[in-house]
């Protein structure tokens, strides 16, 4: 063991360009490397197959394919992927459904940089 922590690849999925750019700019976790972003679930599945990320931030309300369905598709492709849902949908039932479909964490919009990084740290846990 040389003490170095392996870099984890991260993909950002949100239909808002501003939010995608904000998550990329605001995340301060050294071992996360953003490998791409997608604006809907269909694009996300394609990008996921090409880039094989370890970590995904996932919006829920999106055109083409919504985030809940996308979570299921990504988990089927790679069961070890860590998915942080980042959504404005603030009801508990939606958060529970996202977790049941395979997400690992939930961050409600609007969020501060600190909240985003806290949620990502919690998501990574011991990895």
């Amino acid at each position: 063991m040389d003490g170095r922590v392996a870099t984890l690849k991260m993909m950002i999925v949100d239909d808002s360009n501003i939010i995608r750019r904000r998550i990329e700019r605001s995340q301060q976790i050294d071992r996360l490397e953003v490998v791409g972003s997608a604006s809907n679930g269909v694009e996300a599945v394609e990008l996921f197959k090409r880039t094989d990320p370890d970590v995904v931030t996932m919006d829920l309300t999106m055109p083409e394919m919504d985030g809940i369905e996308c979570v299921e598709r990504l988990v089927a492709l790679k069961p070890s992927v860590l998915i942080l849902v980042v959504s404005a949908l603030a009801d508990k039932a939606t958060a529970v459904e996202a977790i049941e479909r395979g997400a690992n964490g939930f961050l409600c919009k609007p969020f501060t940089d600190r909240q985003l990084n806290g949620a990502l740290e919690e998501l990574l846990g011991g990895r």
Binding site: N17, I18, R21, R22, T61, A88, L89, A90, C108, P110
Partner: protein, 148 residues
Amino acid sequence: MFRESELRIFIDGALRVFETLTSQAATVGSPYLVTDGKPGTYEYAGVIDISGIRKGIVYFTAPRGMLTVLLMRMQETDTSEENMRDLVGEVANTISGNARRDLGKGFVISVPNVVSNPADGVAMPHSRSFVIPINWRTHAAKLVVCLQ
């Protein structure tokens, strides 16, 4: 029937968005009722269709000047037309989505439909709307709630 008491949900949501995204608090003026179906818009409006337990629309409308400063406060350097439209839609989406904390999962929201410089305003599904005036820095915007 949408109750006036439920306006608090949307007022709190609007204040939370401004405070969280910009670290600068907004204030709201006295909400008022419009009964002729035309609450008016600024240059951009992000419209969310509501279905499920409630039917209607919620829209956030703001002038270019406010959206430009909002983007800058969010450390966003790209103040293009595309990002103006994106932001007004995202604010509408966030306020509407947050309303599910109180109204539950049956309050179903669409993806944002953004209109800019709408000549005839936003098409209203009902004649009765509540307008929540929002003031932030020197700028004014409106949140319009038109629900059965």
